[in-house]
Amino acid sequence: MSFKSDEDHIGNTGEVQMDKSQARSMPSFDDSPDRFRSTHPDDRFSGASGVLFEQAMAQTRMAICLSDPHAEDLPIVFANRAFRQLTGYSEEEIIGNNCRFLQGPRTSQEPLEKIRRAIEEEDVVVVEVLNYRKDGTPFWNALHLGPIYDADGRLVYFFGSQWDVSDVRAAREEERIARVMARELSHRMKNMFSVISGIVNITGRTRGIRSEAAEINSRIQALGRAYETTLDDAAEGDIDMGDAIRAILSPYDDGDGRLNLRGDGTRAPFAGISVVGLLLHELAANATKHGAWSQEGGTVSVVWGSSADGNELQIDWLEQGGPPFEAAKIQDGTGTAIMERLVAGGGGSIEREWTDGGLLAKLRIGV
């Protein structure tokens, strides 16, 4: 490619070239303000602020145009380089035309109506409108439009700044879809837990093992509650432990002070939730059978947070006001075995101490 042919390109696609030369430390300014000035001798960007304005116009990546409200059909009289880059049109194709040439088949009427009203009332408006480049590709344009007055308060121009927000809109849309999906998934999963529960109950009844079925079911339901919160903020990737713990223990909370929950806003990754759900359920079931909740006035306090280095989720379970400790009753339960297996599998630990008041269990789970 010869040097000459490069020069020939300057105008439309040559813009990119100018950026490159800029990178080679050759200052390169958009000269459209110059041309504007030469055709509008009355409007001078004079003085120091004028120079600043010119340079800002030339260098900003914000697409900017001015339209003349006193000429027929509100033609664009100035468009900076960013405007030409955004739209793909050359200056000759832009100047003198109403900016509606950016509209296309899928441009909706609603934002256009807002623009019309703003122009009529000399008002400021910001709308998102679907525009089309010269090559026909659509883009979402966040258009800011407003009147510009001269020193005597007369309307001289309409100012328009354009910003391509296609990516922002796509991200917003993706987020919205993700949220809808998460909710739908959450609903279906809760329903699925319910169906599983039904199957277990019905099987237990037909096989004559109803109490076993009930025990299995209480575990399934604890798990279901633990997942309930996770799915509601599934888009986040991790979950608020407080929400999960509250949901898991909600059936045990009579709102009368027998369950006290205290924690910081610790968030933990999704993966640990089934362990936490089942562990808390086992502790609660044991407390109901043998511990603090087996008698009037017994309470359980659950305190959670993360370790100083943030690598460990810590949950303390403290029973108070329970019956005297009877080792035999607690040690042999299958629940205890399940707890230890679960925690060990997750690389965590559970320490249990019995005091006169009841059990203190310290769960430590790596996150």
């Binding site: 909710r183 809760k190 837990f193 319910s194 169906v195 109950n201 339901q221 509650r225 059936p251």
Partner: protein
């Protein structure tokens, strides 16, 4: 109460959940009426209008239906009910107006029945 045996109406579009609730109610020796869609629900309720003491309503039903028409019918006829739903977030404005207690799925079917019976004014 004319008789000492409660009659409970159950609405759920998932047959296994419905059956589980039916069993739980029968275990307590209650009389059970059940339906899986709004139309059938209203038919049964009209027919047994004076014989039903309380109800359990699944909120989101098949084919885009919700329990709303059934809930309104029960309210009009002074019959208490509980909502039983896995869909806690997506309830629209109209469902939010319903003042009945909401039981989150999954819940023990026995607890659901107990809560429904608990709504009956004594």
């Amino acid at each position: 109460m004319i008789c000492d045996k409660y009659a409970i109406f159950l609405l759920d579009d998932e047959p296994l959940i419905l059956m589980d609730l039916e069993f739980a109610a029968e275990d307590r020796d209650y009389q059970v009426f059940s339906a899986s869609c709004v139309k059938k629900a209203l038919d049964i309720l009209e027919k047994h209008r004076d014989g039903i003491d309380t109800a359990v309503l699944d909120v989101t039903l098949q084919d885009g239906e919700t329990c709303l028409p059934v809930a309104r019918w029960l309210e009009k006829n002074g019959i208490p009910y509980v909502l039983h739903s896995g869909d806690l977030n997506r309830q629209n404005e109209k469902l939010r107006e319903l003042s009945a207690p909401l039981i989150a799925k999954p819940a023990s079917s026995d607890d659901v029945i107990k809560r429904a019976i608990g709504q009956i004014a004594t």
